[in-house]
């Protein structure tokens, strides 16, 4: 039987990132940030820039492969790919697409990257509605529903209602990210711990999201380099294998005016079984997870939909330090994640997954073998990865 899976055929061999900045504070342009992260990732891989022959990104990244290749003097591009969807839904998808290209033989050393300079290009969390809105926006924006926080709070509110989940669960997720960031000098929130009192006293953005339930907005860039598992044997780092990758969406997700038949979902219900099926493992085999926090509510639903607990167990699962390194059963976002390390549209979570499996994390999970990376939650399409060492 022909094996069409990418399982274990591709390895992440290099990671690189710029310094992370508060939104608008990067001293250089977005393109320069991308160049820096890519060069660092290639150097980390022990490769030459001339070896790079493909690029993959997501969220309509503005730094297109032609310009990158020209600036970097790359001899030839064999694969260039953009994953549809805004926000971070395509973060794992870009890595998965890079892997697919390598397995298909399109390219041999593919860079997946994201670069953001919001001072240069404007921020995500603002409403951009004009005086007149049409199409899908016409059913929401006139009622003051414009920002990502407002789109996702509604779903979260419904999920918490259906499963009798309180604010405790959201607080548990936020506190885990901030706790982990205190050990990570790269993190924007390094040296700025979050107490439960400060969480409770922080202003509401939109109920049920306090300020600390919402991701930051940041400037910076992150990149990873993928190649064949055979090629990776000659390279310096301990290999981090891509066990599985999935991307997509459930039935009629994000049809207009919040009419998704299954509404209160992170949109991982169809992906998670495919992901674990490709890897041939179960959620119990996962040692550490990096789960995209646009907002804590999406992490809550992602934990449930990846099978770590049932919805009715979710509040207990997300509280009492269960998501915190080193004592918790499922440490998540061990670099601080989008909430407290930096919002690189989640690509920093892939880098952290690689660090965990190399043994290099600042919140290193003992004997970590398998890491989940989940991208998007509550958007469409979403994507995810299982990494192992």
């Amino acid at each position: 039987m022909t094996d069409y899976s990418i399982k274990d055929k591709v390895t992440i061999v290099g990671i690189g990132e710029t310094r992370y900045y508060k939104a608008g504070q990067a001293p250089v342009s977005e393109f320069q940030l991308a160049l820096e992260a890519i060069q660092k990732a290639v150097a980390d891989a022990g490769l030459r820039i001339e070896d790079v022959d493909g690029f993959a990104s997501y969220s309509d990244d503005r730094n297109d492969p032609t310009r990158l290749a020209g600036a970097l003097g790359i001899p030839q591009i064999q694969f260039s790919n953009m994953h549809w969807g805004g926000g971070g839904g395509g973060m794992a998808g870009a890595v998965g697409n890079a892997a697919a290209a390598i397995v298909a033989g399109y390219a041999k050393h593919v860079v997946a990257f994201r670069a953001l300079a919001q001072g240069q290009f404007g921020r995500f969390g603002q409403g951009h509605a004009g005086a007149r809105v049409r199409g899908a926006q016409a059913y929401t924006a006139p009622y003051g529903l414009m920002s990502p926080a407002q789109m996702f709070a509604m779903r979260t509110q419904r999920f918490m209602y259906e499963h009798n989940i309180s604010q405790e669960a959201l607080a548990g997720i936020a506190l885990a990210s901030y706790k982990h960031a205190q050990r990570n000098p790269r993190a924007i929130m390094y040296g700025r711990p979050l107490t439960r009192e400060a969480y409770d006293n922080s202003r509401w953005i939109v109920e049920p999201f306090h300020l600390f339930d919402c991701c930051q907005e940041n400037d910076g860039s992150a990149a990873v380099v993928l190649t064949t598992t055979e090629r990776a044997r000659d390279l310096p780092h301990k290999p981090v294998y891509l066990m599985a990758a999935a991307q997509g969406s459930g039935y009629r997700q994000w049809v207009t005016a919040h009419n998704d038949p299954d509404y209160a979902t992170s949109n991982f219900k169809t992906l998670a079984p495919r992901l674990f099926g490709m890897a041939g493992i179960t959620p119990q085999d996962v040692d550490v997870a990096q789960i995209y926090e646009n907002f804590t509510g999406g992490v809550l639903m992602s934990i449930v939909e990846h099978g770590f607990c049932t919805a009715d167990e979710a509040e207990a699962f997300c509280t009492r330090g269960n998501l915190e390194w080193p004592e918790g059963n499922l440490p998540i976002n061990t670099s601080g994640g989008n909430l407290a390390e930096a919002y690189m549209h989640g690509l920093e979570l892939v880098l952290e997954g690689v660090r965990q499996l190399r043994g290099d994390s600042t919140c290193q999970v003992k004997d970590a073998r398998v890491c989940l990376v989940a991208a998007g939650p509550m958007v469409s399409p979403v994507s995810n990865l299982l990494l192992r060492n």
């Binding site: 409403g127 924006a141 414009m146 419904r158 509401w204 049809v255 919040h258 209160a264």
Partner: protein
């Protein structure tokens, strides 16, 4: 509630975005309906499936024969959120406000976004019964919602 001419001040201040029909005509009937205080959602003539927002074909049987069904205007709160942080310059003085997601049980439980009229700090529960209230602007009418008294 196609009867009863129910005028009111707008929930959002002037300067907030207003809707306009899509250039491709897909939702012209919906906005023409609200203008006449009729709440219309699509219903497939072939299989009876309701859908909102509008689509060119039925998502269930793919028939292009889609009609418009007039709803009673009664609905239930499916989800809600109280907004405290304004992201649009026109709403800076308007917070907090209440956004509701209403499901329409007499139209296949399709949903619509609106505001819940009245005190933004009022107690709202998922499942609360509501009825539509028409908010007329110069050239377009919004669908707003109010709690049904004595539910």
């Amino acid at each position: 509630m196609s009867h009863g001419f129910d005028t009111m001040a707008s929930y959002m201040p002037s300067g907030a975005p207003l809707p306009a029909p899509a250039p491709d005509g897909l939702d012209a009937a919906f906005w023409e309906g609200t203008r006449n205080h009729r709440l219309l959602v699509q219903r497939c003539k072939a299989c009876g499936t309701f859908q909102f927002g509008p689509e060119w074909i039925c998502h269930r049987c793919r028939s292009p024969q889609i009609g418009w069904h007039e709803c009673s205007g009664r609905g239930k709160v499916y989800a809600f959120e109280r907004v405290w942080h304004p992201v649009h310059s026109a709403l800076r003085e308007r917070v907090p406000y209440l956004i509701v997601l209403i499901e329409l049980p007499d139209a296949g439980n399709v949903r619509m976004i609106g505001n819940l009229l009245g005190d933004p700090q009022q107690n709202v529960q998922i499942g609360d019964e509501v009825e539509v209230a028409w908010e007329d602007h110069e050239d377009v009418t919004l669908t707003q919602w109010r709690l049904v008294a004595g539910k």
